[in-house]
Symmetry: D2
Subunit: 471 residues, 4 copies
Amino acid sequence: MPLRTPDEYRSAVSGDGRTLYYRGEQIKDILLHPELRIAVDHAAIDYEVAEDPAHRDLTVAVDDAGEPYSAYYRLPRSADDLLQRSRLIELCTGLGGTMVTLIKEIGSDGLFALQRVLEGAALDRATTFLEHCRREDLAVAVAQTDVKGDRSKGPHQQADKDLYVHVVEERADGIVVRGAKCHTSISANADEIMVFPTRAMGPDDRDFAVAFAVPANAPGLSMYISSYGAGDRDAWDFPLSSRHKMLETLTVFDDVFVPWERVFLCREPELAGPLALSFVEYHRFTAVSYKLPLLDLLVGSAALIADMNGVAKAGHIRDKLTHLVIYAETVRALTESAAARAIVDDRGIAYPDPLTTNLAKYTFATQYHHALELVQDCAGGLLVTGPGAEDWASDEIRPVLEKYFVGAAPASDRLRVMNLISDLTARDFGGYHAVLAVHAEGSIEAEKMQILRAYEAEGPLAYARKLAGIT
Amino acid sequence: MPLRTPDEYRSAVSGDGRTLYYRGEQIKDILLHPELRIAVDHAAIDYEVAEDPAHRDLTVAVDDAGEPYSAYYRLPRSADDLLQRSRLIELCTGLGGTMVTLIKEIGSDGLFALQRVLEGAALDRATTFLEHCRREDLAVAVAQTDVKGDRSKGPHQQADKDLYVHVVEERADGIVVRGAKCHTSISANADEIMVFPTRAMGPDDRDFAVAFAVPANAPGLSMYISSYGAGDRDAWDFPLSSRHKMLETLTVFDDVFVPWERVFLCREPELAGPLALSFVEYHRFTAVSYKLPLLDLLVGSAALIADMNGVAKAGHIRDKLTHLVIYAETVRALTESAAARAIVDDRGIAYPDPLTTNLAKYTFATQYHHALELVQDCAGGLLVTGPGAEDWASDEIRPVLEKYFVGAAPASDRLRVMNLISDLTARDFGGYHAVLAVHAEGSIEAEKMQILRAYEAEGPLAYARKLAGIT
Amino acid sequence: MPLRTPDEYRSAVSGDGRTLYYRGEQIKDILLHPELRIAVDHAAIDYEVAEDPAHRDLTVAVDDAGEPYSAYYRLPRSADDLLQRSRLIELCTGLGGTMVTLIKEIGSDGLFALQRVLEGAALDRATTFLEHCRREDLAVAVAQTDVKGDRSKGPHQQADKDLYVHVVEERADGIVVRGAKCHTSISANADEIMVFPTRAMGPDDRDFAVAFAVPANAPGLSMYISSYGAGDRDAWDFPLSSRHKMLETLTVFDDVFVPWERVFLCREPELAGPLALSFVEYHRFTAVSYKLPLLDLLVGSAALIADMNGVAKAGHIRDKLTHLVIYAETVRALTESAAARAIVDDRGIAYPDPLTTNLAKYTFATQYHHALELVQDCAGGLLVTGPGAEDWASDEIRPVLEKYFVGAAPASDRLRVMNLISDLTARDFGGYHAVLAVHAEGSIEAEKMQILRAYEAEGPLAYARKLAGIT
Amino acid sequence: MPLRTPDEYRSAVSGDGRTLYYRGEQIKDILLHPELRIAVDHAAIDYEVAEDPAHRDLTVAVDDAGEPYSAYYRLPRSADDLLQRSRLIELCTGLGGTMVTLIKEIGSDGLFALQRVLEGAALDRATTFLEHCRREDLAVAVAQTDVKGDRSKGPHQQADKDLYVHVVEERADGIVVRGAKCHTSISANADEIMVFPTRAMGPDDRDFAVAFAVPANAPGLSMYISSYGAGDRDAWDFPLSSRHKMLETLTVFDDVFVPWERVFLCREPELAGPLALSFVEYHRFTAVSYKLPLLDLLVGSAALIADMNGVAKAGHIRDKLTHLVIYAETVRALTESAAARAIVDDRGIAYPDPLTTNLAKYTFATQYHHALELVQDCAGGLLVTGPGAEDWASDEIRPVLEKYFVGAAPASDRLRVMNLISDLTARDFGGYHAVLAVHAEGSIEAEKMQILRAYEAEGPLAYARKLAGIT
């Protein structure tokens, strides 16, 4: 069975009755909304690239029966599988103008986690669902972060139980769930929504220990798309955000029925933590993989604009570019290293080394804002005082701009690079990347906690004891 | 003669024939354009506050004849004058929602610089102009940064001489100037535009060593307003940027005639450096003064949202808040210290200590992006995945948001603070502040250069020699 | 009554029967031990400088009766008093080769704290003791830090009660105390030892809430001098540490009797915290004042060696020097600001602004190690691979060194500066300074805690609420 | 031919007539001097470990004839060879108490560089010399850094030509060289001294472009051992530096004759740069490999002392430990990655990826001083105020120390760990490590320069251009 075409994907997610809201209104067909359409087209890159013979080695895998399928859904068995997966993610994100496509990345992260953690019948159901996604070449979202209410309290302590998604009823044919998840990426344009618990849970949180999958048009499921970054935008002003967009939703489950064959976890709090953690182990590796084009662009755009400004040889500019290179290449080396140090579990499933993955993510997250400062420093104040697309389109005004915004390169090129950097670092698309750096796929504190947990302290402690002469 | 009212100011800058362009079109009356009008109303805060009895001590000075005038135009004679000036700037910027009003700050910075540097007839002309601005209670812009072309080359080395504003002709009644300045703040809604050289100049740059003032509607003067931050914006989504705006222009002098009484410097390259420097000494102090409300808001909004999220007592959150406090209060203490260490020159004019002013500015500039990270960390991903004003306005959607975005505070309050922080740190208004941190009133490199120049190294060098035993 | 001479001070602390141990042996007379003698001579700088007419304004105060006394013991009444005190401390530390003398600084910090916190008879006793110290021109140590045992437990939870100094018995004529303090600076060569509680205490810690003073030769008091930095050292190799030394002791109270007139606090846990805090408020200001010569020397020695190496004009060296200047001058400005923002309590006693004092201390402490890196970077590897005094003294070897260690300055000068920097940053004297930066007068965490406590958050919180539109 | 035993090595370097000076005197036999002997015994670890069956896989290689030889001298052919080499260096340094042994590391770095750069007869000579070192199992130093004089000037511009080692004469049987190198590690106890040029050279520097090898007892060669860290030291006070020591010399060539078969480069300035660079490519990888035990000890000792102090669970301590882990493990991952990304040249010789090697080295060097702060913060002020070995040895004093320096562990253990950390971070051994972090194997600036040079900017530049829409 062949992979889906981009248009097959587009058709699948449009007009299927899913309940979407955007900017105060219900949206009947996501493809017909000019802003939301951008996100669908962006996501379709994942399907487009699979059709490109130049990238077939990375994008398409073949199953035992000789059938091709999207390489995203290949269960990793080795360091090399993980490295290839990282390269595939990097490829698609690069084509996506630094914005990850995510429609198969996050879903497969979740599917692999189920394979590592579940047992028995639950594992069988998860395997069936993985094969379904692979065979149908689906776009799969993962809704993990509950809305949480007062974060100083656990799930069962909240005034309103619905602040964490939970099991309302167990029936013969399935379960009924209620509650809401937030920050759910690409759900509005996905085929399937998987739901994972957000954290480790104790016995009192039993009802909240639930994992399952539903189609995006499941009755009772409503998705409220964030209006962040809303509005028309011209491609001259916004070379990235006019073309590339990811949608996040508040994902509300209002007594949604889930048949048993799509239930992976139900009232088993002891598995909530392992499942959440295993998902994060894959997903944080996805994260650092998809950050690489963004880092390349920080370096490349800073070097390009410095050159166009005529300052590329100034000592302090070279110093700033060197810092950007160090940042980008340290994250890249750590990401590769996380794959190379893959751990293969006793089921034969490989996952990236958690310590190294978190080192990569932490390095990325904690130096990102400083990198923005460096790029902006290389570019200059014109990032926020320059002309707009309407000025450039004006036959009266453009000659003035051409005359006066010339640098060591023509104004037409220099202003394009300024706009690229402005979109990337100084407008809402830039703000989106910056907030994602801090929060997406786990906060900085979460990364630090994982690092300390994954670190093998025994060797260094014994070494210190030995050198101190303690017997 | 009384101070102008806000409406008198508004009238003065509207429909006076000034040549303005915005978003591809010429603007006949700045007051009639809904976006530009916001900038005029924002600037009018300077006039409003002068009418408020509560602030009269700070805002209004009295001349020898007992006539009141705007305290902005009081030539500083002491540390206390500078401290009062700083407080005044802080007051107006606080009312301006972290956006400086600037319409008297920058102009008076320039006027004071002329008083310190010029001699003889030029000084007399500058004094007359200062008295004019003070008496008429004017809004005065300063255009300093030339567009510069290839920045690896000096003014006279550029392919096109117009890339630096320069003297084209000296006539009996005045001079004719040509060229363009960029990043000119508040020029579009000012009464007067002062022009200063951008840097020290050598003998070959003679024609570029020019300083003067023209009314905003001078023939041949065209201002191209930046479209950065353009577009309608709802107050719920954008609590700051929907109300507060500053305009920057590309300011083109196309053979503009300036009568001699408004010419302060003409073909005197040896004074270009001192004038540029003296202006910067005042203006960088203005800058650190107007950053204080912004810093307070970073601390205040981070503490507020942490509390609303229910995480205010977490150790890592307290640590982040402490870092924000250290940042904000170090800049504040250094700013006060720059005033307290005022230097009074032999004309009896006080200026803030350059070393300390630059320490304050450097500290502000180099930690700003990290502070954004900390604020965003305290707030959470909802900064970029939350609902919009249209959602909130919907009777169908709002109850869902109220239910699910509750924290340790109601959703209505929590979302408002999220939007405040999003506007402040993660959208174009935030990008504007961030780029200004790096570039406005001098780059980070310029601050470092001034610090090294202002530092008195003799004492430490002698101390090192003495302790090393070198005789 | 005149101030004591240096020799009167030396006599007073030698051979008075105090119980001292050093390097495994009891020391009968501190003046007769060549290593310990250095510390006494170093401390005597405080007395020497008072005899120098050039410094009399700073060093000598005059009481109501017209009698001169050491300005260290002047109870501060104003910002200017605090500023003068800071300058005095800076002066003596500068003469002390970056090592504070401390014999009056720390004692007066303690005495002032008692004046601010005590009431009634206890206050009277403290006042009498203050007058005694002032009149007799004494060297006074403060022992505050208990040895503490397991730091995860409070005083009364320790297995051995003696791990915090505590009251063993109350008698008609006084109290008996037992336990030990550590890190007690200059106690071995002080006249008097004051004891303060180390922290806030609860009702269960009643016995540990004790403050008093005893002479250094009190029966039952033993002082174990640290051997850190022990050994002969040549002045060519160690230009600083061969001349300047401070002693720390483990200070053991083995049922020491204290007459009531020298007891300031006895079993009043509610005052333990305020007293500890008030002492710290003065003492941390002392700390930042005495760090200034050290910071000057970091800048001065780095600039000097860069010049002697012939690299002073390299861009990266200028950048490093600029960072050192920024560091040193930010601490200086904040220290001055802490004095300028003095708070005068309702008793008319001035103390430095706690927020600003802690900003200064925090800035000093957290950038110190990086500053060492910069200084070492400017100097070069010769810091740890160079010749020694015995080489330089050899007529056979010195010519080789003179020939080959020449830079842009003669080898004789260059090697002296190398040795100065090596002593200052790369040997035990440097290690002493580095550890003090982190721990002395409160740890970095303690400084952060004080900053958050001293910060007035109401204004910023209200500002955030207002701008968010929350009513 | 078997490997040498430790005693064979000791014999070889003692009493062979080499000209050594230390502390002002000529040293006839290095083994007979108690301080210098420590360095010989430390170096002998390299021979001891080769005798240990547990480490034979790492330490011993086998040649084509089946003869064993030291694995240090195996010319790397693959990533795995480099990884094994890194592990070997890490092993020996770990046994060396964080001090690298270096006697084969640095020499083989030099020998491999010759293999990569030379051609023809010079290459043959280098190969013969490599085989000699391998067969005889020798200790080989590399003298690279010239004393340099005024560093603002190049070699031929110095007032005294001898400030760079240079060719004085070419004779039929060899060359005569003169001049001095500094910072020459392990030369005093090596068998052979290789000399490399220090930098790229131009045509005017022809005489300085010289590389060769001489035995340590060559006539005219004098070595002046640095007295840094001199003096007896007790193992209780100095658990590391009493046992482990590396010697550096000023290495003076006073008309030393070198036969042609040991001359590798003579007056070929165009090869000076490539040779210097190739050596550095290997040697910087050696450096990051030997830093790993040091980093482990920073983490291990900080964690151990925090535990013994009873503060291991405090939030800020966990945060500091996490930072130390991140630091240590980032360097480790980058070091491994530098090996994994090995480049194999067209001669089949592998060398570590220069970009990644320099990332590792830069990360190590620029965070080292901050790491010291963190370790000292975890340990406490006792690092510099504690008792000494003579106190501990006293039956009168030790019980007092045992009673009062107890923590959450007995005083005997806690003080040992304090001394370990003091030796490691706060005394001269610590200063040695700190200065080496900044300067050894290339300065921080040199690392930055290599990173920018090794970075492939074309991809990122093209990506920026494409996204900006520049065709």
